[in-house]
């Protein structure tokens, strides 16, 4: 039962970092990838249909942690108090930026300032979230689970984890955009298509999470047997349903964000990535 509990926690944590890590990375790179107002809109649009469906994985992972490993949850979060608070501040700001960006419409000066402020909040929030995670993961990799690591060498590890987030976000934008944006994000990866890059960066993220997570003392700290006996089967039963809902969302929103807006009602073809995707040969450096 304990092994199953650990597997469940790992599944949701990896799911969050691979999926949510991508939209966090995209948010970090917002000002670097997007050069015009229209491009900023498009980078945010690559995130928008997924950020909600991605972050529920972290909420779920936190729920699984408190349900299956309540004592670890308390020790871990209390020990890492400042980092977790920073993570939450970044997360809340970022969500608010994404959610409220389009709620002031029009083309007046006020509306433009509003959207620029939201873009800045999304970018800053993404950096704070990624930075907090990088610090937490760096500490866990060093084997410290109950306090914030302040060793100067941790800076190197933080930089490395931040780069992983950024690369993963870059592959994600490459996968979701078209035209100049797509070309610009793929320039970093040479000729190895965005799909393969996303799989590679995703695998690195997953490896990082497994390596960091294996240092958390979970084996002896699971909840009481009576709780595991009902909670583990309940989670195992509901997980396929959750996955099916997620897959539906991935499929429904798989289209690339077009580089030009198509007028409403215009027949844009039945294909999935219908809009002005440059031929593959243009992608290389």
């Amino acid at each position: 039962m304990e092994i199953l509990a650990i597997a469940i926690l790992g599944f949701y944590a990896i799911g969050y970092f691979v999926l949510g890590g991508a939209d966090i990375g995209a948010g970090m790179l917002l000002p670097i990838l997007a050069r015009t107002r229209g491009e900023r809109q498009r980078v945010v649009a690559t995130i928008v249909p997924y950020f909600l469906t991605n972050e529920v994985w972290l909420v779920a992972a936190a729920g699984v942690l408190i349900g299956l490993f309540p004592v670890v949850e308390g020790d871990l979060l209390t020990g890492l108090f400042p980092l977790v608070c920073a993570l939450l501040v970044g997360w809340v700001s970022r969500d608010a930026g994404v959610w409220f960006r389009g709620r002031v419409d029009g083309d007046g000066r006020g509306a433009r300032v509003w959207r620029a402020t939201c873009d800045a909040t999304i970018c800053a929030g993404s950096w704070i979230v990624a930075g907090a995670w990088a610090w937490i993961l760096a500490g866990l990799l060093a084997g410290e689970t109950d306090h914030v690591v302040t060793d100067p060498t941790v800076v190197v590890a933080i930089g490395a984890v931040l780069s992983v987030f950024a690369l993963h976000g870059l592959a994600f934008v490459g996968l979701r955009s078209s035209g100049d944006l797509r070309r610009r994000s793929m320039r970093w990866f040479g000729s190895s298509g965005e799909r393969r890059m996303f799989v590679v960066t995703g695998a690195i993220v997953a490896g990082l999470v497994i390596a960091a997570g294996s240092n958390i003392p979970l084996t002896a700290a699971a909840a009481d047997r009576a709780t595991l006996d009902w909670l583990v089967p309940a989670i195992l039963m509901v997980t396929p349903v959750l996955l099916a809902a997620q897959m539906w969302a991935w499929r429904l929103f798989r289209h690339r964000i077009p580089s030009h807006r198509i007028p409403s009602g215009h027949h844009s073809g039945q294909g999935s990535s219908a809009v002005r995707v440059k031929p593959r040969s243009d992608v290389g450096p």
Binding site: A60, W99, V241, A245, H266, Q270
Partner: protein, 433 residues
């Protein structure tokens, strides 16, 4: 860690949970209204009802964000500030939270994404099904949170094993009367909140002699006639809760009744059982309970008269004094909700798990400075976000149905009969220009 840490942690949790509770109340009620409107729009293909789904749906979506972000912070605050609670009662309390995140919130948010961004991209019956899943999982979420909260109010189905609680009876945990009656009470309160909200916004437009008389006239009636049964549900379940306080928390009842002899007797009995200490909750509990009852009376009379007035379409459109009353009444359910919550939560002090774990013993070993810094940070952040949300809600409510962007381009027809649109349209509209 000092006594001040406890006060700071307590204040921080009260602020987060309080804001969460108020925004989520409207989320829960308005989701129900939107789901019912969309059912009607889908069955009858009425353009008016489709438009109502979009307008009220847009307000629902704006309001939703505040519930998520405060919910996130709250979920992690249990571990951050109250690790004593997760140590002691994690086997029960944590399990309920785990179920809430997986069975309810995960599905609710995933389907909300499908509903917003899949608008016009799926069969209209499927789209209807999606909003109903969102609504039902929102209620499931409320239930599981109240399993956790009900357990803290009235710990059933558990036994002490060493220094932690273990589960002994799952069905007792899941059918705790403190959970079930509170669930009915909150469902009633949420529908009341959205009913007054819908009626108030409609009254604003009717008072300004809007062109959209049909739209807001019908909306106002929906608001009033949702609130009437909701009020009765809230009262009935509220009465039931008072009823079983005698058995579960007699001290709360004694403080509410200001029965000095009874308070002294209970205090003496608790000292004998649990050792020296102050087991009498602060007078704030009584004050909050009274505010709740007074506001209930005000809502009762507003609805009694309103239910009669709303029979006539002419009165709905023309009676401007009534419009003012409905607009002014919009905050009442919020006041009732928050004061009811204060009564429930302050009235069980000093216990976090009733007669088992005190708040002082539940707080994490965190320094004063760290706790104060996090309190200031989150209070500022939430203060700004609450102000922004209210401003955006007011702005969108005032601009009326013509300016709605949610589901723009959707004309209420069957999606299959129209030419294919840009599949990213709903996404780009949401993001803004």
């Amino acid at each position: 860690m000092t006594p001040e840490t406890v006060e700071l942690a307590r204040l921080q949790f009260a602020l987060t949970a309080g804001i969460h509770f108020l925004f989520v109340a409207l989320t829960l009620g308005l989701a129900t209204t939107v789901a019912c409107l969309q059912l009607r729009a889908t069955v009858t293909r009425s353009p008016l009802h489709t438009h109502m789904v979009r307008f009220w749906g847009q307000l629902y979506v704006i309001n939703y964000a505040m519930g998520i972000v405060t919910g996130l912070v709250m979920e992690l605050q249990f571990g951050l500030s109250w690790s004593g609670l997760t140590h002691f009662a994690g086997n029960l309390f944590g399990a309920a939270l785990a179920m809430e995140t997986l069975v309810a919130f995960f599905i609710e948010s995933t389907f909300l994404g499908l509903w917003i961004f899949g608008w016009g991209r799926m069969n209209r019956w499927l789209h209807l099904g999606v909003i109903w899943v969102v609504t039902l999982t929102a209620y499931a979420s409320a239930y599981w949170i109240l399993v956790a909260n009900g357990f803290m109010q009235n710990p059933t189905g558990a036994a002490l094993d060493g220094d932690t609680l273990v589960l002994t009876d799952l069905s007792a945990l899941l059918t705790n009367p403190s959970t079930l009656t509170a669930f009915g009470h909150i469902a009633g309160g949420a529908l009341l909140t959205s009913g007054f909200f819908v009626a108030g916004v409609s009254a604003y437009h009717l008072r300004r002699r809007t062109e959209q008389r049909e739209f807001f006239g019908r909306s106002l009636r929906i608001g009033v006639y949702t609130s009437v049964p909701a009020l009765f549900l809230a009262v009935a379940t509220g009465g039931l809760q008072f009823g079983h306080l005698e058995g579960t928390q007699p001290m709360k009842l004694a403080v509410f009744a200001m029965d000095g002899d009874e308070i002294d007797a209970l205090q003496a009995a608790m000292i004998e059982q649990f050792g020296a200490g102050d087991y009498t909750p602060p007078g704030l509990a009584r004050a909050a309970g009274l505010v709740m009852l007074v506001v209930f009376a005000a809502m009762f009379w507003i609805l009694l008269v309103g239910a009669l007035l709303a029979i006539s379409r002419k009165v709905i459109v023309r009676f401007r004094l009534w419009h003012v009353v409905l607009m002014a009444a919009m905050p009442l359910p919020y006041v009732a909700m928050i004061s009811g919550w204060v009564f429930r939560e302050v009235g069980r002090q000093p216990w976090v798990v009733y007669e088992m774990l005190t708040v002082d013993d539940a707080v994490s070993d965190i320094s004063d400075t760290a706790m104060r810094a996090s309190l200031i940070t989150f209070t500022t952040l939430f203060g700004v976000l609450v102000a922004v949300t209210i401003w955006l809600m007011a702005r969108h409510a005032r601009r009326g149905p013509d300016a709605v962007t949610l589901g723009a381009g959707e004309l209420g027809g069957d999606t299959s009969s129209r030419p294919a649109r840009d599949p990213s349209e709903a996404i780009l509209t949401f993001v803004g220009r």
